[in-house]
């Protein structure tokens, strides 16, 4: 009988172990394996020379296993000063009735090492999965860099636009664990390493960016303005070397300011450019062949168009004493009436054609999120006086970046470039994954036209609205702008946008600098508010880039040549 029972058990064992063995073993394997995610380290954002703009540092959580705490009061007294917490708070956590509790999260390595050095059995240091995102430049360049949220996902700027590249690919670990999920000794362990994110190399020059932020801030504060933008672009390539907005934010504490200040105003907010838009009028006039440099227009102080009277700006540079004026005079002295006359002579189709050639009807295609196109309309909407006002940059809105690019097209001889903010993508090991090459969108104008318009813009500085703008040794060209601001569809009295877009050096153009200041108090002319900021930025640029002086730059140039 005993033998029978043993045989029955033997058969039962055969069924469980051999017949059903594979199925049971597979189920057991599922239960014994634990899989968890390895989070990749987020890639860096660096400037054109590799200086860190946004990096991820290791970060640590300070955890407590209350069951292993032997002396809650004593250990609390030792840990609290390291963590800058009160001993009472710490002791409360050490006495928690839970298998695990956090004492502190997202702490830096020095603090974590200090805690580990205490060698307390119940208090441990664990790495945070994402680490801590740090923007060492603070507010400088913040609107380009953007920021990341709590789960390390990019929420603005390059962090958002290049989130996928920066994030990398998570890995995984599958390992055999005990019932509490701890890996078992000599157990199988299958690791797919996480692929760290790639590094985004920007076209930004950290030093120029810093200068731009400082100069813009000084300007906005001096004139008690609402806000401002400053862009430095390399004309030949379309690379953005600096892009500043003020007021801005510190990406390390982005929630300390209203969300409105997070946006990159220079690309998200179209504005009425005013006289700086006369670049388009002049280019259209000369390039279409409908106006030559010798053609003259009646020099009027007012013009009645479509039931509206257009005035020249009251800036002391009236065309008094002249009966006629050339295109050069109109731009140099920034005569709105003259610009309106030119626009009316060109007609809707030609003006619209050149507005489109300059790309104002489309976003520029820069690799930044939230870019807006200009508000251009179509010739069909241009009723009443609108064609005439577009001639001097009212009744049309463009972004600061689009306008900068238009000046760059003039400066480089007529080619519209795609603005570049990213220069290259590199792998974590330093290998260059992708190089972003300059990209010509189209030819806007003939080189001949570019040279002629550039000459006019040099006259603006030498004898026109920006007379007195001098950078010793360097020829400058540019255009002032003083536009009435449209707020909620209405021109607001006393609210102006003061701007200056300049080209440096004017004899062999390389850089375009745009300065725009919204609602300055007191003075509001572009020449007074924005042009000095342009000069300061140009001076920094000359110094940083070791720019050779111009050969013929008027009186100042002579002086410079002598010192050479």
């Amino acid at each position: 009988m005993v033998v029978t029972l043993f045989c029955a058990l033997g058969a039962r064992l055969y069924v469980v172990q051999v017949r059903d063995g594979p199925r049971l073993a597979a189920q057991a394997g599922d239960e014994q394996a634990a899989t968890y995610t390895l989070y990749p380290t987020r890639g860096d954002i660096v400037d054109r020379f590799g200086t860190a703009l946004a990096v991820t540092l290791p970060s640590y959580a300070i955890g407590v296993w209350p069951a292993n705490v032997r002396d809650p009061r004593g250990e609390a007294l030792r840990v609290a000063p390291v963590l800058h917490l009160s001993p009472g708070q710490v002791e409360q956590v050490l006495r928690a009735r839970a298998p695990f509790a956090y004492l502190a999260r997202d702490q830096n390595g020095a603090l974590a090492r200090a805690v580990a050095a205490l060698h307390l059995a119940g208090i441990g240091v664990t790495p945070e999965p994402f680490g801590r995102r740090v923007e060492p430049q603070g507010t400088s360049g913040a609107s380009v860099i953007g920021f990341t949220g709590v789960d390390d996902q990019g929420l603005a700027g390059i962090e958002y636009e290049y989130n996928a590249l920066l994030t990398g690919h998570p890995g995984s670990v599958a390992e055999e664990t005990d019932a509490q999920g701890r890996p078992i000794p000599f157990g199988k362990r299958l690791v797919h390493a996480a692929q760290p994110g790639q590094t985004v190399v920007l076209t930004i020059d950290r030093s120029l960016q810093f200068d731009a932020d400082q100069i813009l801030r000084r300007t906005v504060e001096r004139f008690h303005a609402r806000s401002g933008s400053l862009i430095v672009m390399r004309a030949t390539t379309g690379e953005i070397l600096a892009l500043a907005n003020y007021p801005g934010f510190d990406p390390n504490h982005y929630d300390a300011v209203p969300a409105a200040d997070w946006r990159d105003r220079a690309i998200t907010d179209p504005y009425e450019p005013g006289s700086t838009f006369k670049l388009v009028t002049a280019t259209a006039a000369l390039d279409s062949g409908k106006v030559s440099l010798d053609d003259t227009f009646p020099a009027l102080d007012t013009l009645r168009v479509g039931g509206r009277v257009i005035h020249n700006a009251d800036d002391g540079l009236m065309a008094s004493g002249h009966r006629d004026e050339t295109l050069d005079d109109i731009v140099t002295y920034s005569h709105n009436v003259g610009a309106a006359e030119v626009a009316l002579r060109l007609g809707k189709e030609t003006m619209y054609d050149y507005i489109r050639r300059f790309g104002f009807d489309q976003p520029t295609g820069v690799d930044l999120p939230g870019e807006s196109a200009g508000i251009v309309g179509t010739p069909d909407d241009w009723w009443g006086s609108r064609l005439a006002t577009i001639g001097f940059g009212q009744g049309i809105s463009v972004t600061a970046l689009a306008l900068t690019r238009a000046y760059a097209a003039l400066a480089n001889g007529g080619l519209l470039m795609r603005p570049l903010i990213v220069r290259a993508i590199t792998a974590p090991d330093g290998r260059v994954v992708r190089v972003v090459r300059p990209e010509v969108v189209r030819r806007v104008m003939r080189p001949q036209t570019a040279a002629e318009v550039l000459k006019i813009l040099r006259d603006v500085v030498s004898r026109g609205t920006a007379k007195g703008l001098v950078l010793p040794g360097y020829a400058l060209a540019g255009k002032t702008g003083t536009a009435q601001m449209v707020i909620d569809g209405q021109y607001v009295p006393g609210a102006y946008t003061a701007s200056f877009v300049g080209i440096l050096p004017a004899d062999r153009p390389q850089y375009v600098i745009l300065v725009k200041v919204d609602r300055p108090q007191g003075a509001y002319y572009g020449a007074i508010v924005a042009a000095p900021a342009f000069r300061d930025m140009a001076a920094k640029l000359v110094w940083r880039e070791s720019l050779a002086p111009s050969l013929r730059a008027g009186a100042a140039g002579v002086q410079a040549r002598r010192t050479l």
Binding site: V2, L13, Q17, G21, Q180, I184
Partner: protein, 378 residues
């Protein structure tokens, strides 16, 4: 002295092998849990070795003892065991673990009286059955007292509650009665009283009932009543033919409860495979064969009943344990003799084995059948 036969070598060897396997497997099965609990992987091994040492002395003592002297002591031993069983239930040193009062806390170690009672019961029954030539045929002289003894132990152990051990008492006594020539009607009476009592106990609480019947379909409640059996089947199934290898068990890492005590056979199956499990099973068959052979060759009736009862008790316990572990029987919580971790169990099992071995040697003096009848009973 010279009249004694040599000790049954096969029986000794199988006992040693089983105990050796027990020591190795207790270490393998307990190391992970021991490390987590005590930061010492050998925590249970050290204690097992200590108890094996004590057990070896107990075996030696059992084998050296003139087993016939036990007859004189049988009522006293039995009485003491009953007192101990009662003490577990009522005294302040009764020790509760896992919802049952099974242990007596005696200073540094705990002590399980039901293990002692198992031996005492067999000794008592052997004594009763060898009082007369006709064994247990007389209900009034042998059958009824035997049933009283079993019933007392059964009732006390059921109060702990320890259904496994209690039922083991019943079945062992049943087999002993059968071997002692009890009438079928007596056996039927015993079954008629015991089985309803056990069923009543099980069905009294829905929890016990669910737990009792969980082995029929453990996957009905895999996180609750079925958990233990499923984990045991996972362990056995992972072993396949040859096992994962000694020390390679995964289920011992906190998945399988009682992995070094009542469910150590599952770890044996996982690490040593079907072949290893079958080998252990075969060792118990050999143990049963040698034990019964010793009983049949005993020179007196007491020797026969003693060796037979002890062999049957140990073998049935092994059967029941393996049946539980392989999911063929309700979970009843009996250790695997010689192998499961547990001091009282190991020492008492080795002492019992020693007594069986002692029977194989025969009594000290050549005796007539009469001489083994104690004076008072005669």
């Amino acid at each position: 002295m010279s009249a004694q036969r040599p000790l049954d070598a096969g029986f000794l060897i199988v006992t040693l092998v089983l105990t050796g396997i027990g020591i190795v497997m207790v270490f393998s099965a307990s190391s992970a849990v021991a490390y987590v609990q005590f930061h010492d992987a050998a925590y249970y091994l050290k204690r097992e070795l200590l108890w094996a040492g004590v057990g070896a002395c107990a075996f030696y003592a059992g084998a050296r003892l003139d087993y016939r002297r036990l007859r004189l002591l049988a009522p006293w031993i039995f009485g003491a065991a009953v007192v101990l069983l009662g003490a577990v239930l009522v005294s302040p040193v009764g020790f509760i673990e896992g919802g049952a009062r099974r242990w007596l806390a005696l200073g540094i170690f705990t002590f399980e009286p039901s293990e002692v009672a198992k031996l005492a019961l067999v000794v008592m029954l052997a004594h009763l059955f060898s009082l007369r030539r006709e064994g247990a045929r007389s209900f009034a002289r042998a059958g009824f007292p035997a049933l009283l003894c079993v019933g007392l132990c059964f009732a006390l152990v059921m109060r702990e509650p320890d259904l496994g051990t209690a039922s083991l008492y019943l079945v062992t006594a049943f087999v002993m009665l059968f071997a002692a020539g009890a009438r079928p009607s007596h056996l039927a009476l015993e079954a008629a009283v015991a089985v309803p009592a056990m069923l009543e106990f099980i069905y009294a609480s829905p929890y016990r009932r669910a737990r009792f019947l969980a082995f029929l379909d453990p996957w009905k409640d895999p996180q609750g009543t079925g958990y233990h059996i499923i984990q045991s089947l996972y362990a056995l199934g992972s072993g396949r033919w040859l096992g994962l290898g000694l020390g390679e068990s995964r289920q011992k890492f906190g998945y399988l409860p009682a992995q070094h005590t009542d469910f150590i056979f599952a770890i044996i199956g996982e690490e040593l495979g079907f072949i290893g499990a079958l080998a252990v099973l075969t060792l118990f068959v050999v143990f049963a064969y040698r034990g019964i052979r010793i009983a049949l060759r005993a020179e007196d009736r007491f020797g026969f009943h003693l060796a037979f009862g002890l062999t049957v008790g140990i073998t049935l316990q092994a059967l029941m344990n393996v049946a539980v572990v392989s999911g063929s029987w309700p979970i009843t919580g009996v250790p695997l003799p010689f192998i499961s971790y547990g001091g009282t169990s190991l020492v008492m099992t080795l002492f019992s084995a020693g007594l069986i071995a002692g029977v194989s040697r025969g009594p000290r003096r050549p005796v007539t059948d009469l001489a083994c009848v104690p004076p008072r009973a005669a």
